[in-house]
C-alpha cells in the first residue's frame, strides 16, 4: 500500500471505470446479456428438438429486418458522434440534436419491427417456434423501449443544462446501454433471421 501523501487530490465521483456507477452499469449489462444467452439457448433448444423444419413456416423475410438493422447501427453511430462532440466542445445543441436523432431512429426501429411482426403468418400462441420467436424479439423490443426512455430522459436533462457543469456520467452510461441494446440486436438478428436462411 502506498502511503497517502499530504495534499493528494482525488476526483469526486469520478468518470468511467473510476466511478462506481460505471461498474453498476456493467453489472446490468452482464445480467441482461446473460438473459439473452438463455433466450437464445431456449430458442435453439426448442429448434433442435423439433421433428419438422425450424422455423415451420420457412425462413423469415429479411427485407424489413435488414433495414431495421441498418437503422439501429446508424443510431449508435449518431449517438457516439454526439457524445464525442459534447466531450470536446461542450456544445449542448449538437448533443441534443444527436440524442433526438437517436430517439427518432430508435422509434423508427420499433415501428418497423411492429409492421414486421404484424406481417407474420403466425401469432404468439401458434406453436413453439412462434412463442420462442416473439419472446426473443419481444424481450429485445422491451430493451429498446427502456433505452428510448433513457435517451428521452437524457435529452430532457441536456436541454435543461444539467450536464453543462460537473459530471456527465449519465450520458456515457446511457450511451453504453444503448450500444449494448444494439449489439444484442445483431446477435438476435443473426439467430432469428440469418441462421434460418442457410437451412
Amino acid at each position: 500500500m502506498s502511503e497517502l501523501g499530504d495534499g493528494e487530490v482525488l476526483p469526486v465521483g469520478g468518470t468511467g471505470p473510476v466511478s462506481t456507477a460505471w461498474w453498476g452499469m456493467i453489472c446490468v449489462i452482464a445480467t441482461e446479456g446473460v438473459l439473452f444467452v438463455y433466450l437464445i439457448f431456449s430458442y435453439a433448444y426448442l429448434g433442435s428438438q423439433q421433428p419438422g423444419p425450424w422455423p415451420p413456416s420457412g425462413p423469415p423475410s429479411l427485407k424489413l429486418a435488414l433495414t431495421n438493422t441498418a437503422i439501429l447501427i446508424a443510431s449508435s453511430v449518431l449517438l457516439a458522434w454526439g457524445l464525442r462532440k459534447f466531450r470536446r466542445q461542450r456544445d449542448r445543441r449538437q448533443l441534443a440534436f444527436a440524442l433526438a436523432g437517436t430517439i427518432v431512429l430508435g422509434a423508427v426501429f420499433v415501428t418497423i419491427q411492429g409492421f414486421e411482426w404484424a406481417d407474420k403468418p403466425f401469432v404468439f400462441s401458434t406453436n413453439a417456434y412462434s412463442s420462442a420467436f416473439f419472446l426473443l424479439t419481444g424481450v429485445h423490443m422491451a430493451h429498446v423501449a427502456v433505452g428510448l426512455l433513457m435517451l428521452l430522459a437524457l435529452l430532457v436533462w441536456t436541454l435543461l443544462g444539467r450536464f453543462d457543469r460537473g459530471h456527465h456520467e449519465h450520458l456515457s452510461l446511457g450511451a453504453l446501454y444503448w450500444h449494448f441494446v444494439d449489439v444484442v440486436w445483431l446477435v438476435v438478428f443473426t439467430t432469428a433471421y440469418l441462421v434460418p436462411q442457410f437451412k
Binding site: 493528494e8 476526483p11 469526486v12 465521483g13 462506481t20 453489472c27 438463455y38 433448444y45 460537473g166 459530471h167
Partner: protein, 646 residues
C-alpha cells in the same frame, strides 16, 4: 438497540459525522433509511421470520407423516405445504439470511462507510419483503403454489394445475429475482470499489470471497429462472407453447433452465455460510485460518464447477449416456474444492487451541454435517446410484444435511458470534450450549433416518405411506427429531430476547477477534469509521502477536492522521485489486425512492397476477417516474476534486 449511540463517547469529528450520516427520526427515517447496518438487521430478522414460517410448515408435515396412513392433511394441502416449505426456505430464508450478514458486515469488514449503492441496498430489501408477501398472498385462500419448489412442467401447466397457485409462484420468483440481482450487483461493486486503502484482494475475509462469488453467480444464474418462470406464466395464461408438447414445446426445457439456475443457487446458499465459518472458527482456535489462499480459491472453483453440474438433477430424464457421464464426472470433481475447505477447517481446529464456546460448537457441528451431506451428495453424483435414489427420502436427507448443515448451523453460530457487535450485548453462553445440543441432536434424529427410509423406497412428496412399508418407526423418530430441533430454535429465540434486554455489555472486541469490524464500538457508529482505516495485513487486530511483518494497520484513534471525509456524506473508492484510493464517493442520504419503487413494483406484479391492465399501467408508470427522479443528475459539491489531508 439497547446500547444507544449517545452512550458512546463521541469525538468532535464523530459528532460532525453523526450529523451527516444519522438517519432521520420517526416513520420517515424508518422508511427512508439507507444505512447498511439497519438494512442488514432487517434482512436477518425478516429471513429468520420466514425460517420460522417454513419450519412450522415442516412441523405440520411431520405430524402428518408421524404414522402410516394418517389423514390429518389432504393430499392437496400437503402439496401446498411442501411446496411453500421448499420455496420459503430456498428463496425467502437461505439467501436473504446470508445477504443480511453480508449487508451488515461488509462495510465494517472492508473498512468502508456503506455499500456502493445504499439506495439500491434499501431497494433490494423492500423488494425481497414485497416478493415474500406476494408468494404468500394465495396461502390463506388455499391456493398456494403446489408444484414443489422446482415446479416441474407439465404438472404445473394450466391443464393439470388450473388455479392461480403456480401463477403466484412464477410471478413471485420473477419479482424476487429483481431483489436478488439488485443485491448481487451491489455486493459486486462494493467489493471491487468500496474498501479501505490497503484492503487488497489477498486480505479479504473469506465471507467476502463467498458472498462475492455467490453474487457473481446470481447475476449470471437468476435470469435463467426468471425466464423460465415468465415462460411458464405465458404458457399458462397466454397459450404459448414453450413447454407444451402438443405445440412443439419441450418440458425438459423447464428443467434445463431451472437447474442451470438452481445448482449455482445452491452454492450461493452455502459459500457465504462457509465464509462465516472460515472467518469465525479460527477466532475460537486462537490462530489464523489454515490455508487462506486455498480456501479462497476453492470457494471460487466450487462456483465455477457449480455452473457445469446442473444435469445431475436430471439423470432420470432419459438424456443420452454421454451427457450423463460428463455431468456425473463434473459432480464428482466438485468434491475436491469442498474437501479442501473441510481439511482446512479441521487443520485449523487441530493446530489451534479450541475454545468450546457456543459459536465454536455450531461451526464444528457444521463441519461434521457438511461431511455427511457431502458424502451423500457424492453418492448421488453417480448415475447408477442416482437412478435408485432419486425422488426418494434419501435425497431429502441429503439436501437437508447440506442446507441445514451448511446454512442454518453457520448462520445460528454466526449470530451468536456477531450479536455482541450488532447490539453491544453478549448472548447467554449456557443457554447457547443448550441451544446447540438441542438443535444438533434434533436435527440428526430428524434427518439421519431419512437416509434409511429413502433406501427402503419411501418416495418424497407423497402425503402418506402404507403401514406394510415398515417405515413407520423411522418416520416417528424423524417427527420427534423435528420437534426437538424446533425446541432448539425456540431456545435460540429465547436467548436473543433475554440477551437484548439484559445481556452483559460486550465491549468492542469480546472474542479478541482479528478482523476490522471488531475495531469499531459495539454497536458501531452510523458512519462506521471516524477516519478511514489503512489496512496493512489480513489480521489488522492481531498484527502485534502474529508479527508477520513490521507494517501495522492504522485504525481507530491512531488513524487521526487519516482521511476524515466529513464534507458531506462521503466514503473512499479504491482500485479493484490493490485497494489504492482513487476517488471520493458521494453517498446518498435518506430516501423514500427505494420504498416507493418497491411499492410500484408490487402494484405491477399484482396487476400481472390479476391481468389487470389498469394496475399494470399504473405500476409501470409509477416505476418510470420514480426511476427518473432517482437517476436525475445531482451536481456534486462545488468542486469536482478534493485534496486529502489538507
Amino acid at each position: 438497540m439497547t446500547v444507544s449511540q449517545a452512550d458512546a463517547t463521541v469525538s468532535p469529528e464523530g459528532r460532525k459525522l453523526l450529523g451527516i450520516w444519522e438517519t432521520a427520526p420517526g416513520i420517515f427515517g424508518w422508511l427512508a433509511t439507507v444505512d447498511h447496518k439497519t438494512i442488514g438487521i432487517r434482512y436477518l430478522c425478516t429471513a429468520f421470520f420466514f425460517l420460522i414460517v417454513g419450519g412450522l410448515e415442516a412441523l405440520v408435515m411431520r405430524v402428518q407423516l408421524a404414522q402410516p396412513e394418517l389423514k390429518l392433511l389432504s393430499p392437496d394441502a400437503y402439496n401446498q405445504l411442501f411446496s411453500m416449505h421448499g420455496t420459503t426456505m430456498m428463496f425467502l430464508y437461505a439467501l436473504p439470511m446470508l445477504s443480511g450478514f453480508s449487508n451488515y458486515l461488509w462495510p465494517l469488514m472492508l473498512g468502508s462507510r456503506d455499500m456502493a449503492f445504499p439506495r439500491l441496498n434499501a431497494l433490494s430489501y423492500w423488494t425481497f419483503l414485497a416478493a415474500g408477501i406476494f408468494l404468500y398472498v394465495s396461502f390463506p385462500i388455499g391456493q398456494a403454489p403446489n408444484g414443489g419448489w422446482f415446479a416441474y412442467v407439465p404438472n404445473t401447466s394450466l391443464q393439470y394445475d388450473p388455479g392461480i397457485n403456480m401463477d403466484v409462484f412464477a410471478l413471485g420468483l420473477v419479482f424476487l429475482g429483481i431483489s436478488t440481482v439488485v443485491g448481487s450487483a451491489n455486493f459486486i461493486v462494493t467489493l471491487l470499489r468500496c474498501r479501505a486503502p490497503g484492503m487488497s484482494v489477498n486480505r479479504l475475509p473469506i465471507i467476502v470471497w463467498g458472498t462475492f462469488t455467490a453474487s457473481c453467480a446470481n447475476l449470471l444464474a437468476v435470469p435463467a429462472v426468471s425466464l423460465a418462470c415468465a415462460m411458464l406464466w405465458l404458457d399458462r395464461r397466454f397459450g404459448t407453447h414453450f413447454f407444451d408438447v402438443a405445440g412443439g414445446g419441450q418440458p425438459l426445457l423447464w428443467q434445463h433452465l431451472f437447474w442451470i439456475f438452481g445448482h449455482p443457487w445452491v452454492y450461493a446458499l452455502v459459500l457465504p455460510a462457509m465464509g462465516i465459518v472460515s472467518d469465525a472458527l479460527p477466532v475460537f482456535c486462537r490462530r489464523p485460518l489454515v490455508g487462506y489462499t486455498l480456501v479462497a480459491i476453492s470457494t471460487v472453483a466450487t462456483m465455477i464447477l457449480g455452473f457445469g453440474v446442473w444435469v445431475h438433477h436430471m439423470f432420470a430424464t432419459g438424456l443420452p449416456v454421454m451427457s450423463l457421464s460428463f455431468f456425473s464426472a463434473a459432480s464428482f470433481v466438485i468434491a475436491i474444492p469442498s474437501a479442501v475447505g473441510v481439511f482446512c477447517w479441521i487443520a485449523t481446529i487441530w493446530t489451534g487451541k479450541p475454545q468450546f464456546t457456543t459459536p465454536f460448537l455450531f461451526f464444528a457441528g457444521f463441519v461434521m454435517l457438511f461431511v455427511i451431506g457431502g458424502v451423500s451428495g457424492f453418492m448421488t453424483a453417480s448415475v447408477a446410484l442416482d437412478w435408485q435414489l432419486t425422488d426418494s427420502y434419501f435425497v431429502v436427507a441429503h439436501l437437508h444435511y447440506v442446507l441445514l448443515g451448511i446454512n442454518v448451523f453457520p448462520v445460528v453460530g454466526g449470530i451468536h458470534f456477531w450479536f455482541p457487535k450488532m447490539t453491544g450485548r453478549m448472548m447467554d453462553e449456557r443457554l447457547g450450549r443448550w441451544t446447540f445440543w438441542t438443535m444438533f441432536i434434533g436435527f440428526n434424529a430428524a434427518f439421519f433416518p431419512m437416509h434409511v427410509t429413502g433406501l427402503m423406497g419411501m418416495p418424497r412428496r407423497v402425503y402418506t405411506y402404507p403401514a406394510e412399508m415398515g417405515v413407520g418407526g423411522l418416520n416417528l423418530l424423524s417427527t420427534i427429531g423435528a420437534f426437538v430441533f424446533a425446541l432448539g430454535v425456540l431456545l435460540f429465540l429465547l436467548n436473543i430476547g433475554r440477551s437484548l434486554r439484559s445481556g452483559p455489555p460486550a465491549g468492542d472486541n469480546p472474542w479478541d477477534a482479528p478482523a476490522l469490524e471488531w475495531s469499531t464500538s459495539s454497536p458501531p457508529p452510523v458512519y462506521n469509521f471516524a477516519t478511514i482505516p489503512q489496512v496493512a495485513s489480513r489480521h489488522p487486530l492481531w498484527e502485534e502477536r502474529l508479527g508477520e511483518t513490521d507494517r501495522r494497520s492504522i485504525l481507530g484513534d491512531r488513524a487521526s492522521t487519516g482521511m476524515v471525509l466529513d464534507r458531506g456524506k462521503e466514503t473512499i473508492g479504491v482500485t479493484p485489486l490493490d485497494a489504492e484510493p482513487n476517488v471520493v464517493l458521494k453517498m446518498p442520504g435518506d430516501s423514500l425512492l427505494p420504498f416507493l419503487l418497491a411499492a410500484g413494483m408490487t402494484v405491477l406484479f399484482f396487476g400481472l397476477l390479476a391481468r389487470s391492465g389498469w394496475a399494470i399501467g399504473a405500476g409501470g408508470l409509477a416505476e418510470i417516474v420514480i426511476l427518473f427522479l432517482w437517476l436525475t443528475p445531482r451536481q456534486f459539491a462545488e468542486s469536482e476534486e478534493v485534496a486529502l489531508h489538507e
